[in-house]
């Protein structure tokens, strides 16, 4: 857990129902994958815990059923953007 508060992390958020890929912008550049069993998987870097909660709030506000949130891996040092 030690580095989790500072570095950008890759998260995978699974939602119920297919979402058009045009939503990638809304979800701040997360990649949108549609699964065959009718779920949407958002994958991408999340700057920190606050950003993750912000994403989840967007999901909540759209009334989209949230199925899971998975931490995939620590992001590489693309920190120059995040530190701005």
């Amino acid at each position: 857990m030690k580095a989790r508060h500072t570095q950008s992390e890759i998260f995978e958020i699974r939602l119920q129902g297919h979402l058009d890929t045009s939503w990638a912008n809304w979800f701040e550049g997360m990649a949108i994958t549609l699964t065959e069993d009718g779920d949407t998987v958002l994958t991408g870097p999340v700057a920190d815990q606050a950003a993750l909660h912000g994403l989840l709030k967007k999901v909540r506000d759209l009334g989209m059923p949230l199925l899971s949130v998975c931490h995939i891996e620590s992001g590489q040092a693309n920190g120059s953007k995040d530190e701005a």
């Binding site: 939602l15 119920q16 129902g17 297919h18 979402l19 058009d20 045009s22 939503w23 912008n25 809304w26 549609l34 009718g38 949407t40 920190d48 815990q49 606050a50 950003a51 993750l52 909660h53 912000g54 709030k57 909540r60 506000d61 759209l62 009334g63 989209m64 701005a84």
Partner: protein, 934 residues
């Protein structure tokens, strides 16, 4: 927010004429009315708000409504609306809290809620209060996303306080998309909570049938209904959109009527139920595509607005049919919610607005890709700019500012903050401005040094003095080095100087205040009224500290006039307070009291913290009038208010006054304890300029206790000529005292310090008397009485003779007293009352002299312990314990009687024994009797 937009937040949406009846839910809501809280917690689109409006419309209880938004995360703002909402039910509610809520320095929620709770408890009939969209409340600093592990949000905290003390007259209803951070488990266990959740709210198959076939006028088979219900899982927003998509377009009135109609209900249901697509995503597209182009365009463009009204929509679309389209959208059930009764203001259902905004972004992104660059983003920004311009033109500056922020137009936002005349942050909107500034990257500040200055002003104004303001000002100066030397740059440099002057005021650094204020007044633009007013005040303050009262009064009078002209209440209070202090120093106590009372009237009840100086002024005045009870009350009030502010030295002023009151009441130990607290406060906050005043009171206490050595030591180590003269008098050296007093009086006269001069005169009278110069004594006293009489400064004459030196007190008390006082003080012992009697006899201010005499004697009669013939007198509490020691009560019984622990009681007993020089209870009782202590 401007008043009519404020009203839209308090407007309870009226239920639509045709609704699905939900008797089982209404029954549960009714059953919950005797509990404290009803929580309706479910995702967007489950009909939470609709259910509550239907329930309230059907019931008879008076109800208040508050629709929350993100801005309400600021607890002061939240409470302001909460009170405003309750006042739509009865104007008796929250009357006293309204003024307190206007305070620029926010009060703790408890201070506001307690009187409000009392009002509610006194309400003649039960009330329901609905807080709609409670999930909008976020962490006020973080805005939106909050880091994990953040402390409790202040609004949650305020609401928890409210819930815990909720009188049965109020029932609270909360609708939210997420469970609030309130003590729900506790309420649940105590049976004080009713909960309705998604599973309760979703439409059943029967309700789905009623909704689709009766309310929406479709004619669907049972199988179709079941399929739709299964696909949407009873989600009401989904069903509503599906119904609109299936409705015959002819049912919709112009301009929503469409050329083509849907391929067929059966086809729609088949493709919808067969799709994996997110229900809402799918349906909104279906519905939007049914709309004519102009309506689609209207929906997308106006989606950037939080509140819609016809002319505002026109400003965004460039058309002139905004009102018409809004009304037809409302008729078509297209997720448009009226915010008033006049069809003037509307909002989109939040969920629908989010979807529209998403589509607007996607559309712009597509267009941008086609045309390269970020033209899309520009389009949305352009819409926000148009909204901002419309709000600005119509006088809604906060909304104009918020849209400028949404457009990322820093220039425009900064321009709107500056405002016409009084900047936004001078008008109670400091917190949104601060949030915005804190969200900006440093590059924006570097490009616009004015923003640093604004930030420093906002921090100073909101009392955030612990943030390093000087550092911000230096950053601004550095950035301004390269700026063109024009009026604008000068004005900014002037503002920087003005802020430095303000900061120096909190530290009483007179030189800095004067140099910075003068620099500010030179540089500030003539039109910068708010800053010039503030600086006029800081300059006046410096003159006052220097003792130049005439110059200070002129500056304050000018500040007050300027403040009233520009409606700046804060500077008006500050200048009025100082003016009152000067009147007080001129011995015009009645005028000063009026001035201070005027401030309390401006700030209302409970008062703003800024009124603390007025309170302590009133405390000092009532002390002089010998109304110790009122003095103590105002002193305490001042202390409580002052503690809510950072970096003011008022708590020291309150503490010193309260110590004087205690001493006057004969509680020397209590006075010393209070002074010890003041000492600590002064040390912690670096308010060294208070050391002298504290020492002066301490010297009086020592004199009061007959501890001349300590008094003399303290007087030697401070520059306190009056105190030194008092000690010399007590030591029986009137000629030394006279020499000193003459210098003090002459200096006071030279500098026009009426209060100092009066104090010196009173002491001179006593000193002359002690030196056997009765005639000169009477002369000095006569002059002192004439000076003191108009303002009624009685206490002056009482305090100048410590109790053991008073002639008539010796006749009543033990011989030991006589021995002590006579030995040390000689003639001045008789001075005070004898002199005053003589004054009455000779007709020198006889009425006032008589009053002073009465005050002097009354003080002695009611203070038996002032004459305690002990080097270290017993405190009030110790006397209480001593009284109980003479009874048959055991130690533990005495402790219970006094409501203290046995240990505390034992400490008291030990102190009593040591002060009386005994080692047993029996001996203590005997000794107490000998000394007439009981």
């Amino acid at each position: 927010m401007s008043s009519d937009l404020l009203q839209t937040k308090l407007y309870m949406p009226r239920p639509r004429p045709s609704l699905v009846p939900r008797p089982h839910l209404i029954a549960r809501l009714n059953q919950g009315l005797h509990r404290k809280l009803t929580l309706i917690s479910a995702p967007a689109g489950f009909g939470k708000t609709t259910l509550v409006t239907e329930w309230i419309a059907a019931g008879e209880r008076p109800s208040a409504w508050l629709s929350l938004d993100e801005e309400d995360s600021d607890p002061a703002r939240f409470l302001q609306y909460l009170v405003a909402a309750l006042r739509t039910v009865s104007l008796k509610l929250g009357q006293t809290t309204l003024a307190a809520l206007q305070s620029p320095q926010p009060l703790p929620p408890q201070a506001i809620l307690t009187p409000l709770l009392n009002d509610i408890a006194a309400a003649p009939e039960p009330i329901t209060l609905v807080l709609d969209d409670y999930h909008e409340v976020a962490d006020p600093a973080g805005r939106g996303a909050d880091p994990v592990g953040r402390a409790v949000r202040p609004v949650d905290e305020a609401l928890t306080f409210l819930l815990e003390r909720l009188p049965p007259q109020l029932h609270l209803v909360i609708t939210t998309r997420e469970d609030p951070n309130l003590p729900l488990a506790r309420l649940r266990v105590r049976g004080q909570l009713t909960e309705l959740r998604a599973a309760d709210l979703r439409f059943t198959v029967e309700e789905t049938a009623v909704f689709l076939n009766q309310v929406m006028g479709l004619n669907l088979s049972a199988a179709d209904i079941a399929a739709l219900e299964a696909r949407t899982e009873g989600w009401i927003a989904g069903l509503q959109l599906a119904a609109i998509a299936m409705q015959s377009p002819i049912a919709m009135q112009s301009p929503l009527s469409l050329p083509g109609r849907h391929a067929g209900t059966a086809d729609f249901i088949r493709s919808f139920t067969g799709s994996h697509r997110f229900v809402l995503d799918y349906l909104v597209e279906e519905v939007l595509q049914q709309q004519p182009d102009n309506v689609q365009d209207f929906l997308l463009k106006t989606a950037v607005l939080n509140q819609l009204t016809g002319p505002l929509c026109d400003a965004l679309t460039g058309d002139a049919n905004g009102q018409e389209i809004l009304e037809s959208l409302e008729r078509a059930n297209l997720f448009l919610i009226p915010l008033d009764n006049e069809r003037r203001w509307y909002r989109y259902h939040h969920l629908f607005a989010d979807l529209l905004r998403q589509r607007l972004r996607a559309k712009n992104a597509r267009r941008a890709n086609a045309r390269s660059q970020s033209a899309g983003e520009c389009d949305i920004a352009a819409l926000h700019i148009r909204a901002s311009e419309w709000f600005e033109a119509n006088g809604w500056e906060l909304e104009a500012f918020q849209h400028a922020v949404a457009a990322h137009d820093v220039e425009r936002a900064a321009h709107l903050i500056a405002g016409e005349g009084l900047p936004l942050y001078f008008r109670g909107e400091a917190i949104p401005v601060r949030h915005w500034l804190e969200s900006l990257p440093e590059t924006e500040f570097k490009a616009r040094p004015a923003l640093w200055v604004t930030y420093a002003s906002v921090l100073t104004l909101t009392g955030r003095l612990h943030d390093n303001i000087e550092e911000i000002l230096q950053a601004a100066e550095t950035a301004l080095q390269d700026a063109a030397p024009d009026d604008k740059t000068d004005d900014l440099l002037g503002q920087i100087a003005a802020i430095r002057a303000m900061l120096a005021v909190t530290k009483s650094q007179v030189e800095t205040i004067i140099t910075q204020s003068q620099r500010a007044l030179e540089l500030l633009h003539p039109d910068n009224a708010p800053m010039r007013t503030t600086t006029t005040w800081t300059l006046g303050y410096a003159y006052q500290v220097q003792g130049n009262r005439a110059a200070a009064s002129r500056a304050y009078a000018e500040t007050i006039a300027q403040s009233q002209k520009s409606g700046n209440i804060m500077t008006e209070i500050a200048a009025t307070t100082c003016l009152g202090q000067i009147q007080e120093a001129e011995n015009q106590l009645h005028r000063a009291a009026e001035t201070f009372q005027h401030i309390l009237q401006i700030v209302g009840d409970p008062p703003w913290p800024a009124a603390c100086e007025a309170c302590v002024g009133l405390a000092r005045i009532h002390y002089q009038w010998n109304d110790l009870e009122a003095a103590e009350r105002y002193g305490q009030q001042g202390l409580e208010l002052a503690r809510q502010l950072e970096n003011v030295d008022t708590p020291a002023a309150c503490g010193v006054l309260l110590a004087r009151v205690k001493l006057a009441q004969g509680d020397a130990a209590g006075a010393l304890a209070t002074l010890a607290e003041v000492d600590q406060f002064v040390q912690e906050h670096d308010f060294g300029h208070w050391h002298g005043e504290i020492a002066a009171v301490r010297i009086q206490i020592h004199l009061h206790q007959g501890n001349l050595t300590a008094a003399a030591q303290l007087a030697d180590s401070h520059d306190l000529p009056l105190s030194r003269a008092r000690v010399q008098l007590a030591q029986g050296e009137p000629s030394a005292a006279l020499e000193l007093l003459e210098t003090v009086r002459q200096q006071a006269e030279a500098n026009d310090l009426a209060d100092k001069r009066l104090q010196a005169l009173a002491l001179q009278a006593l000193a002359h008397q002690a030196a056997g110069e009765s005639e000169r004594a009477m002369q000095a006293l006569g002059e002192a009485l004439a000076q003191a009489a108009p303002g009624g400064l009685l206490r002056l004459f009482v305090d100048e003779c410590p109790p053991m030196t008073r002639h008539h007190s010796m006749t009543r008390h033990h011989s030991m007293t006589r021995h002590h006082s006579m030995a040390r003080t000689g003639a001045p012992a008789a001075a005070a009352s004898a002199l005053l009697r003589e004054a009455v006899k000779q007709g020198i201010s006889p009425v006032f002299a008589q009053q002073a005499l009465a005050a002097l004697e009354e003080t002695d009669v009611f203070q038996p312990q002032t004459a305690q013939p002990l080097p270290d007198p017993l405190s009030d509490r110790e006397l209480e314990v001593l009284k109980l020691l003479t009874t048959a009560l055991t130690g533990p019984e005495i402790a219970r009687e006094l409501m203290v622990s046995l240990n505390t009681m034992r400490t008291h007993t030990k102190n009593i024994y040591s002060k009386l020089g005994v080692n047993s209870r029996r001996k203590a009782v005997r000794r107490a009797a000998e000394l007439h202590l009981l």
